[in-house]
Symmetry: C2
Subunit: 216 residues, 2 copies
DNA sequence: GTCTATATTTCGATAGAC
DNA sequence: GTCTATCGAAATATAGAC
């Protein structure tokens, strides 16, 4: 979350003079851009909107990031990192623990990083013009390994015979739904964002259905 | 799909002279707009883009729909109709049949109307500025009835005790994933759109996991 | 590093000839 | 009903004074 600087110090929101200015302003801009892009996508977001959200003159935004696409790439890069840092199955050989931990980690991520999830969804909806490369070059290999693990559980009779890809998509879709469709779930929840307790309840039901659903 | 005219005839893609021109051109524009809006959302879509997709001069698009928002509302209205026309649980008192049919209907809809699903997702991602009203006024009531049906199954011990809202969200998310995240599933499928057979396989696994997951 | 002014393009929408 | 031309606003991006 925080960026280590070369001198070892950490820049937070506090404005600084000297060397930290660029780093600090870049972070503020990227934070604002994450909000804006997750709301209206790349084409639908103006640099003016990002500048306003960041509380920085538009010209300064261009000073740090010459073109809009430069901001977008940085923001998407961070989302890719979030995905790669998320839990995977390789930490456990035991399907019940592995699945439960994975679902829990994905739900926690949807709760703590909803903007990242929404950005991912927005990118894929628009045809994954930037994310496509990442999915092809990094996620694909990761996916093959994870699928192999689940397939081995099936081959050994530890879980039911299910389509492995579909199982992953169910977990991804169900957990990310709570970030991507938050506007909808809020309305259906009486115009109130879901509480942390409701997230935990949802996590419990998703875990129950998925685990029991594959025979655990 | 086809619109009945007052004279009883049907307009398809073929250009006509006389009374059918407006209706025919409006349909062509709406079809193009559905593609464009589902890709880049309302703000991110230009009237020029819609006109180009429709193969109609931009000025003509404005002749039929004075403002961009007029096109958008029409397209969203159709999506709302699709949702309401989709299957619900009230056709069956028996949970296994009801759930299986509902999942099947939602998967068929994701396959046959992916643009509608993507538009819905795009709208909700952008905060549901238009859909919000529909969700509040129509979907909410529908949802309460459906939830009550599922809750009665739980109360009568026909299915496991799960969070009913979460169960619905799992079904919606898992089925709509195949439309909304098609760009991603295609890449993970070797840069090839999923076949009808793969859709059926996915439908089978989703049904298996959901039904068994709630104790059926 | 900041910020006003501005160049250039694109966009939504309209006018008006045909 | 069609379509060229265009207006005014908004958007991306840059220049240049401070």
């Amino acid at each position: 979350m925080q960026k280590a600087k070369t001198d070892g110090s950490i820049s937070l929101n506090r404005r600084r003079t000297g060397k930290g200015i660029r780093e600090n302003n870049e972070r503020i801009i990227l934070k604002a851009a994450e909000v804006a892009f997750s709301e209206t996508g790349f084409k639908g977001t103006s640099v003016t909107r990002i500048a306003d959200l960041a509380g920085i003159p538009k010209a300064n935004v261009h000073y740090y990031f010459p073109r809009k696409i430069d901001i977008y790439r940085e923001v998407i890069d961070r989302v890719c990192q979030l995905w790669l840092d998320a839990a995977d199955f390789r930490g456990s050989d035991e399907p019940e623990t592995a699945l439960r931990n994975y679902i829990s980690a994905k739900m926690d991520l949807a709760y703590s990083e909803p903007l990242g999830s929404k950005l991912w969804a927005m990118e894929v909806l628009t045809g994954a013009p930037i994310l496509g490369e990442f999915i092809r070059e990094k996620l694909l290999d990761w996916f093959e390994l994870e699928k192999a693990q689940v397939q081995s559980w099936i081959d050994q009779g530890q879980i039911d015979t299910v389509d492995v890809q579909t199982l992953f998509y169910m977990i991804w879709a169900s957990t990310q739904h709570y970030a991507d469709f938050a506007a909808q779930t809020a309305i259906l929840n009486g115009d109130k964002a879901l509480s942390k307790d409701q997230f935990e309840t949802a996590k419990g039901t998703i875990s129950h259905v998925i685990l029991k659903g594959v025979g655990l």
